[in-house]
């Protein structure tokens, strides 16, 4: 049988941390989006692990909805990136300082 849940949860925590560091450190909006996907995947792994440990299909159902919401989020987010690139010709978050006083 599969390993105990602690290993999976530890791995998910590590992946979540790497994603969070990338989101804070990187300046490219596209890569920041990919880091958000990493964090969502870590959460999904946690949900599936708890679904197995508690023998409850509800955890897997939540992961299904997370997938759908992530797809919608990426579609709208990349639409915003494309629109912004047309106006300012950049995908670097630091260059978006029009509102700076």
């Amino acid at each position: 049988m599969s390993l105990s849940a602690g290993w999976y949860l530890g791995l998910a925590a590590l992946v979540f941390s790497i994603g969070a560091i990338g989101l804070l450190v990187r300046r490219n909006v596209l890569i920041m989006f990919m880091c958000i996907e990493l964090m969502l995947n870590a959460a999904n792994l946690t949900f599936v692990t708890f679904a197995r440990v508690l023998n409850d299909i509800g955890g897997q159902a939540i992961v299904f909805f997370v997938l759908v919401v992530a797809a919608a989020e990426v579609v709208v987010g990349l639409g915003i990136v494309v629109t912004n690139f047309r106006r300012r010709s950049t995908t670097v978050a630091d260059d978006l300082h029009s509102l700076k006083g």
């Binding site: 590590l14 596209l30 890569i31 990493l38 509800g58 909805f65 997938l67």
Partner: protein, 206 residues
């Protein structure tokens, strides 16, 4: 399929399970670090595929076959392709210097804060009894969905049953959400009409 789920806690992991977990954990971590450290966005997207594949393997390892398939099809097949499409479409696939730190001390602070968070999570996992609450609130992972012989069993059947009964409202809400997202993407990506754009450019130019 394993139908002895109640005996999960007492059975010890076998060598193939340990090897699968170790290999996919290595793949996941290498991919995740690759996403964060790649100078080229295309390389970051390909590293993301690597991580998603490893997570799909761990889904299969934990009796979530349907979600593993969906993970590959939706994430690796649609979302990452969308990322790559936007990267190529905008022509931003050039390298950026990842060693430049525009905000002094920001990276150190990010590492410290995320390290504190990770330490907190690990400490919580190590010390507290994290599996709390009632088992099987919604339904079991596998097993026949009706009493009839020959009824579909397994986690795909269970997931389908729960999605269309317990989570029916949420399921329909995601349908509405997807329609809204598609319409929003079309509106965002649509080029403004020529006259409107001219007005905008006249207004912006000094």
């Amino acid at each position: 399929m394993l139908h002895l789920s109640l005996a999960v806690a007492s059975t010890r992991p076998t060598w193939p399970d340990i090897l699968v977990f170790a290999a996919s954990a290595a793949v996941i971590l290498v991919g995740a670090v690759g996403v964060v450290t790649s100078a080229n966005p295309v390389h970051a997207a390909l590293s993301l595929v690597m991580t998603l594949f490893g997570v799909a393997v761990l889904f299969i390892e934990q009796e979530a076959d349907f979600l593993a398939a969906v993970q590959i099809i939706v994430y690796a097949g649609a979302i990452v392709v969308l990322f790559l499409f936007v990267i190529m479409f905008l022509g931003v696939d050039r390298r950026e210097d990842v060693n430049v730190e525009p905000l002094a001390g920001q990276r150190t602070l990010a590492f410290v804060m995320v390290g504190i968070t990770l330490a907190g999570i690990i400490a919580m996992l190590a010390t507290s009894h994290w599996v709390t609450g009632a088992h099987q609130v919604v339904g079991p992972i596998s097993g026949p969905i009706t009493k009839a012989t020959g009824a579909p069993s397994g986690e795909v059947a269970q997931l389908g049953k729960q999605l269309f009964t317990t989570y029916l409202f949420a399921f329909e809400a995601t349908a509405a959400l997807l329609v809204i997202a598609v319409v929003g993407a079309v509106v965002l990506a649509r080029r403004p009409a020529v006259s409107e754009r001219d007005e905008h450019e006249q207004g912006v130019s000094p």
